[in-house]
């Protein structure tokens, strides 16, 4: 991975962004000041936090799917019914999955690791880059998600995601959970249980289930808070990003692979 020519040039981007921002500020300054005066600018999530995960693959048990089941239940994925007459193959290929279990084997040594794979909540998400409508976006607190109100279902983001983290809803959905609206024709993926975070909880369904099983392979928390458990663990132990060569700075990191 020595060829870096095809990577986005972050310095150039930052420069262009700042130039655009300065030009924008010069023209719309009165409006901006108005918004600040009304207190609208600083409501909601802030970039003072960045939510992330650290997954210890040594602790992730072979054959355990507690995280997947908990996610399905929390986000109403288990309520999606298989369309009539659809083959097993098609259903398994198309059913939505926010988190899935993977088994990776080192081809040279034969060493096997188990790990859960989901949206990696990149700092520079390719799905956001390619979205033609702005539906795929990154929240100030680092959560990458889809605004279904603007998603047109083009699936560019699914193509762009190196982690195969996104799913498309192919059929009409009759029953939903209040915290997880879902309908035919939109793309969706893990949102780090944003409804929990917005309610003040610092946990996700998968992390809770993993702890309840006694594995404690998933650690969830604020990457920017140096005192948080996850920041301490990241500092103490070696960890890596999957496809780190893409320089996406993922929010989900793995140790012992």
């Amino acid at each position: 991975m020595s060829n870096r020519d095809d990577q986005p040039d972050m310095n150039r981007r930052a420069f262009l962004g700042q130039t655009a921002l300065a030009a924008g500020a010069a023209t719309v300054a009165p409006g901006v000041l108005l918004a600040v005066a009304n207190g609208e600018a600083d409501e909601g999530v802030t970039s003072d936090v960045r939510w992330g995960m650290l997954i210890d693959t040594n602790k992730c048990a072979d054959g355990c799917t507690a995280c997947v089941e908990a996610c399905d239940k929390e986000n109403g994925i288990d309520l999606i019914q298989r369309p009539q007459g659809q083959s097993d193959e098609m259903w398994n290929a198309q059913r939505p999955q926010w988190i899935r279990k993977l088994k990776v084997r080192d081809t040279q040594t034969g060493a096997v690791s188990n790990l859960p794979m989901m949206c990696q909540h990149c700092e520079h998400p390719p799905c956001v880059d390619v979205c033609p409508t702005g539906a795929s976006f990154k929240r100030a607190d680092g959560i990458v998600m889809v605004d279904r109100h603007t998603c047109i279902g083009c699936r560019y983001c699914m193509m762009a995601c190196p982690y195969k983290a996104r799913s498309f809803i192919h059929q009409d959905v009759v029953r939903q959970r209040t915290n997880a609206p879902r309908g035919k024709g939109c793309v969706e993926s893990c949102n780090l249980c944003a409804h929990r975070i917005d309610a003040g909880q610092e946990s996700t369904a998968c992390q809770e289930a993993c702890s309840a099983e006694g594995h404690k392979a998933i650690l969830f928390g604020d990457l920017k808070d140096p005192q948080s458990e996850i920041a301490q663990a990241l500092k103490a132990h070696e960890s890596r990003q999957i496809r780190g060569d893409l320089e996406l700075n993922t929010g989900v990191r793995y140790s012992n692979i």
Binding site: G44, R139, R177
Partner: protein, 169 residues
């Protein structure tokens, strides 16, 4: 002929009076369904006339704050609409708000405005505890996407009630 026209006049007066009674009765009627939490409240988050005219804009404004900024305790949250306006069913669960005759569907089908919120959003509080699907309940068939195989039919009473609701602004 004179006596006949007198009878006609009295009959006309009676019919007129009956109609007047009917309409005044209907105007005081409300779209709020009886078995819902909203029935026990004085008003919505804004005066009724305001909500009738502007609820769609309020919802649209606050949905962006919720999705993009994570503000979930907005004044105009769809989840809160459903919490309040869903009617309890005999089975112990809730009736979908977009089922025929329920709070959202009754006006939307009258004015033939398609109700698209519930293609994605849960139609009952807490979600998914009601076994009746929205299609089975028939609510999705009305509006602009009204199917040809199910012609819209309202009884005279229903039509009058709906009319009064809309005029009631």
């Amino acid at each position: 002929m004179r006596s006949l026209s007198g009878i006609r006049r009295i009959a006309g007066l009676l019919v007129g009076g009956a109609l007047l009674l009917l309409t005044t009765g209907a105007i005081s009627d409300t779209a709020v369904t009886k078995g819902s939490k909203a029935a026990g409240m004085d008003s919505c988050v804004a005066p009724t006339a305001d909500m009738r005219r502007n609820h769609m804009d309020y919802l649209k404004h606050d949905r962006d704050r919720t999705v993009h900024k994570g503000v979930r305790d907005t004044r105009n949250s769809l989840a809160a609409c459903i919490d309040c306006h869903a009617e309890k069913s005999e089975a112990g669960g809730y009736k979908p708000v977009n089922a025929e005759g329920q709070f959202c569907a009754s006006c939307h089908s009258y004015v033939a405005v398609n109700l698209t919120c519930f293609q994605c959003h849960s139609t009952t509080p807490q979600g998914a505890d009601e076994k009746v699907s929205q299609n089975a309940a028939g609510g999705a068939g009305l509006g602009l996407l009204h199917g040809m195989e199910q012609p819209l039919s309202l009884t005279r009473d229903e039509l009058q009630r709906l009319h009064a609701k809309v005029e009631g602004n």
